[in-house]
């Protein structure tokens, strides 16, 4: 049976749902099911990272990560190391593998932008970029804080934006 969604791969997941009091059954391949957020294995240990790494292995030939052969200049971790262990070797790995990690994060978390706690202690030592990008990030977080009516954080953020702008 072909997947109802992509019509290409073999359907492996059979999802029975009640929508508007009608029973429907969707037949999906594991990839489409994964994209729709359907757990592809019932039972213990649903592990998105493991699944993702396994998929990365399968599609390794055309994946940018496989082509990337250069090791992290700081700790020497390679893309192959990461594929094998699922672990990065140091904080510089995050900068080194950044473009590829971004797509991974989107799949795992549905987002790449941290909106949680600010690390105020590291204001001058944040890894990555200069003041412009930092101000941009802070603005996005300010909007988010206002949206969440977290005015204390919003005030903090506004101060930090002013600080950075006045340095410029």
């Amino acid at each position: 049976m072909r997947c109802d969604n992509c019509g290409e791969r073999e359907a492996e997941i059979h999802l029975t749902q009640i929508v508007d009091s009608e029973l429907t059954t969707l037949h999906l391949c594991s990839e489409c099911a994964g994209e729709k957020g359907v757990p592809t294995q019932v039972g213990l240990g649903s592990a998105p990272l493991t699944d993702f790494l396994a998929q990365m292995e399968k599609g390794a030939t055309d994946s940018a990560l496989a082509v990337e052969s250069e090791a992290c200049p700081y700790c020497g971790t390679t893309a192959a190391d990461f594929r094998r262990t699922g672990r990065l070797g140091c904080s510089q790995c995050w900068a080194h593998f950044e473009p590829k990690l971004r797509s991974l994060l989107r799949r795992i978390h549905g987002s790449t932008q941290h909106v949680g706690k600010l690390y105020l202690g590291a204001a001058e030592e944040e890894i990555g970029v200069g003041a412009d990008a930092r101000i941009g990030t802070l603005r996005r977080r300010l909007e988010r804080a206002i949206e969440l009516e977290d005015f204390e954080t919003a005030a903090d953020l506004r101060d930090r934006i002013h600080e950075l702008e006045s340095v410029e």
Binding site: P39, L44, C75, H109, S111, T112, V115, I127
Partner: protein, 379 residues
């Protein structure tokens, strides 16, 4: 070794039972993962890096106010039995203690606040795992404790932080907030009414995940499940906590409904299950751990439905932890093979149940015992 009893009764405050929603929820755990700038993550760290990380964290702890008289247990200074005690108490991960039969990983340490479980693991997969464990469902409280300690440490240590990705971790599944909140929940009603599969599927569709009692990949024993957030990035800590709390609240409601239905529709089946569990636990002479857990599940259910008067929930919690092999070995004063451990476990459980019966007998009227035989007028 001079600190032969270094582990003692550390970090087991939460066993006292009780806490909000304690009929269904045993405990709440919250941790955040943090790494220090300038050091490779554990997977790439050499022995020197690990020792330097430990030293940095140790000095950051000095003079702090979030932990009252923190104590630091270096894994290298503990023998294999002591390390397994900590593991059985859910205070450390397998990663932190290493292979119990080999030398402990250098620089790996646990910081605890006496009997409380608030503290941190040092040189785990990430340099720091700031963590706490509380009884019952106390997600907000647990988050606040961890957050306060994290902020204090963050003011003294250079955390690795990225303008877009947030707090950097070794594994991309932890990045951002680094927050993992999990609730240890007992769902016998949903298992017995065969509703559990639906509930668990629902959980995985709303961005949460579940596993057995002993973390990733572990089996479900005794109808105990750990439900936790799956994602750590793109939401604030409060949103993650709130979302988990809401879903767990729903699961609690489902579980209570299931228990009520069982009690109404199949009281005899239920009483029989609870009574047999009590019978075996109070009379067995050999007791494998998984069997003990499954029977304890029955007693816990019986207690919350008032089909039993003893033992106390606290006793069940204690038995769950102290009935594990490393704890039994500690009581026996020697190492035990599997068969020996089963014998010691049975004796330990028999004694614990008998003590509670005895206490109840001297405290209350005769008809309080034996438990669960006068269920008809209770419903």
């Amino acid at each position: 070794m001079e600190d032969a009893d270094a582990v003692r009764d550390r970090g087991i405050d939460w066993l006292a039972g009780g806490g909000p929603d304690h009929e269904v929820v045993l405990s709440t755990r919250v941790r955040v993962a943090r790494n220090l700038q300038g050091f490779p993550f554990s997977i790439r760290a050499g022995v020197d890096d690990r020792r330097r990380v430990l030293a940095r964290v140790q000095s950051a702890l000095e003079g702090g106010t979030s932990l009252v008289e923190p104590e630091l247990l270096e894994m290298e200074s503990l023998d294999s039995g002591q390390r397994r005690l900590l593991l059985e108490r859910h205070l450390v991960s397998r990663d932190l203690i290493g292979n119990p039969d080999e030398v402990a990983p250098p620089g790996a340490a646990l910081v605890l606040e006496g009997r409380r479980a608030l503290g941190l693991m040092i040189n785990e997969e990430d340099h720091l795992r700031v963590q706490t464990l509380l009884n019952g469902l106390q997600l907000v409280q647990a988050w606040q404790e961890v957050s306060r300690l994290d902020e204090e440490l963050g003011g003294r240590l250079p955390y690795a932080f990225h303008h877009e990705f947030g707090f950097l971790t070794s594994c991309p599944t932890n990045v951002g907030t680094g927050l993992r909140a999990s609730v240890l929940i007992h769902l016998p009603g949903l298992v017995l009414t065969k509703e559990i599969r639906k509930v668990l599927q629902g959980i995985s569709q709303v961005g949460l995940t579940y596993r057995g009692l002993y973390g990733e990949g572990s089996e479900v024993v005794g109808n105990f499940f750990q439900i936790s957030n799956q994602t750590t990035l793109g939401k604030t800590e409060e949103e993650l906590i709130d979302h988990l709390a809401r879903i767990v609240g729903q699961v609690i409601q489902y579980e209570k409904q299931a228990r009520a239905i069982l009690l109404r529709e199949a009281p005899t089946v239920l009483e029989d299950k609870v009574g047999r569990a009590y019978g075996i636990l109070s009379h067995a002479y050999t007791l494998p751990f998984d069997e003990m857990m499954n029977l304890i599940s029955g007693l816990r259910l019986g207690l919350t439905l008032k089909l039993l008067r003893t033992p106390r929930v606290e006793t069940l919690n204690r038995v769950m932890i102290f009935g594990q092999t490393a704890h039994l070995e500690r009581m026996a004063g020697r190492s035990l093979d599997d068969a020996d451990a089963d014998v010691h476990r049975a004796a330990f459980v028999r004694r614990a149940l008998a003590e509670d019966e005895e206490a109840a007998r001297s405290a209350g009227p005769e008809r309080d015992l034996p438990a669960g035989t006068d269920g008809d007028d209770e419903r």
